[in-house]
């Protein structure tokens, strides 16, 4: 862990065209201050890998509305009409992935696996273009790993060495994307001294985290 950054300094790390995994489920557990800083910086052509694109004005929805996103890999965009409109107009390229497959692909990327076999999506349009592999007489889709340049995490607590934990339904994609981003930036609700988060309560070890966002003013 390299230290705590102001939101604008964290956003400045992100270049044009970067790929971002962003935690959150309908913006619950998303790093809102970091997203605001990226919008303020205005860097475009981004790929966003996330469960969903939230709704206009919240979480990832703010990146969509600002026109910064060129490509979305998500399981659901139905509650953000702007994503739908920009997809239909061709401004955003959208890859829709079943939610359980998406999280396993991210985990595989983060954990050095070459892929996973899942029954989900067999015989649907999700199967198109994929290898079908038979194991013990059953057919599965081969789903390949996903990684990203950055993982942007919304956490509950962080300690001074970057250990993170999460609260209730704000876990969602956060602990998994922490493994799959080449640079990991976490925005915690609070930053506490080492020892306040006991070892058994750590959900993301600090060794995975590159930067924390400084506490909110």
């Amino acid at each position: 862990m390299k230290g705590a950054l102001r939101p604008e300094a964290a956003a400045a790390l992100i270049p044009e065209g970067a790929s971002l995994m962003i935690g959150g489920f309908m913006a619950v557990g998303s790093p809102e201050r970091l997203i605001d800083a990226i919008v303020a910086r205005g860097v475009g052509g981004l790929t966003v890998i996330a469960n969903d694109t939230a709704m206009p004005g919240k979480g990832i929805g703010k990146l969509i509305s600002a026109g910064l996103v060129a490509r979305v890999v998500a399981s659901h965009i139905g509650l953000n009409p702007e994503t739908q409109a920009r997809m239909i107009s061709g401004e955003i390229e959208c890859e829709l992935v079943p939610q359980g497959t998406l999280i396993e692909r991210i985990r595989a990327g983060g954990m050095g696996l070459g892929g996973v076999l899942t029954p989900t999506g067999l015989a649907t349009e999700v199967e198109d273009g994929k290898q079908v592999i038979e194991v013990e007489g059953k057919r599965f889709l081969l789903e390949t790993p996903l990684r990203a340049d950055f993982a942007l995490i919304g956490a509950w607590q962080a300690d001074y060495v970057g250990n993170l934990n999460y609260m209730l339904t704000a876990h969602n994609f956060n602990p998994i994307i922490a493994l799959a981003g080449r640079t990991v930036i976490a925005e915690p609700d609070s930053i506490v001294p080492v020892g306040v988060i006991p070892p058994d309560a750590v959900k993301t070890p600090g060794v995975l985290v590159d930067h924390l966002l400084i506490r909110a003013a």
Binding site: F25, Q84, L96, P98, Q99, G100, E104, A123, L168, T169
Partner: protein, 218 residues
């Protein structure tokens, strides 16, 4: 009682003590209202708490605790937080005892379409494909018809959600059990005749000698 309440009350009767149950957003989420706490059922939302409870008291909503639709919920005693990999591990691995989902169409093979209307609605499949593939029991809760069109069809015209045959379809007119031999009409809604169901259904139905009226949860 309106059609949605009727469906929710009938689905509630499928829920057995101690089950782990996922309720989709919309109509399916209404089912929880009719399941007594004494059953010890744990509701899961795929976004990540086992043991979802009702909306919290005014002023006590917390932004870290919502259902899959983003609405504020509470958690029951004994609840457990899980991340998305665990959530879908439970779903795909058959640990989820039951899922209740909405539907756009069910056909004579028992296949469900519920995630896409080509050229019109492309919201993404979210967790639907995993839920239908992996849950121990899949129940479709939907109106029998939409805009005068039967949603129980000979063959899906909308994109398939999963290869797996669903276990039960509960509508405002009937309870239908898909099986090897087709769609078996199991129950009629209160006051609805067999002829009315036949007339409202595009798919062929297998009709046993006796088709009792639904019993509804309180």
């Amino acid at each position: 009682m309106d059609a949605k309440e009727l469906i929710a009350r009938r689905v509630a009767r499928e829920i057995m003590p101690g089950m782990l149950v996922n309720l989709g957003i919309g109509l399916p989420s209404m089912v929880a209202t009719y399941v007594p706490a004494s059953l010890g059922v744990f509701f899961q939302a795929e976004n990540g708490v086992i043991g979802l409870g009702a909306r919290p008291p005014e002023g006590m909503e917390d932004r870290h605790l919502t259902d899959a639709g983003g609405g504020f919920v509470s958690a029951v005693p004994g609840a457990a937080s899980i991340d998305s990999a665990m959530s879908f591990g439970l779903i795909r691995g058959g640990h989820l005892d039951m899922t209740v989902l909405g539907g756009l169409q069910v056909d004579e093979a028992g296949h469900l379409a519920n995630w896409k209307v080509p050229g019109k609605m492309v919201p993404g499949m979210g967790g639907a494909m995993d839920l239908v593939t992996g849950a121990a029991r899949v129940i479709v809760a939907m109106q029998h018809a939409a805009k005068g069109q039967s949603k129980i069809v000979p063959k899906l015209t909308l994109p398939l959600t999963a290869l797996r045959r669903v276990d039960l379809v509960v509508t405002d007119l009937a309870v239908i059990e898909p099986g090897e031999g087709g769609l078996i009409l199991r129950e009629r809604a209160p006051g609805v005749s067999l002829d009315e169901i036949r007339a409202a259904t595009d798919a062929a139905l297998v009709i046993p000698g006796e088709v009792p009226e639904m019993t509804l949860a309180d």
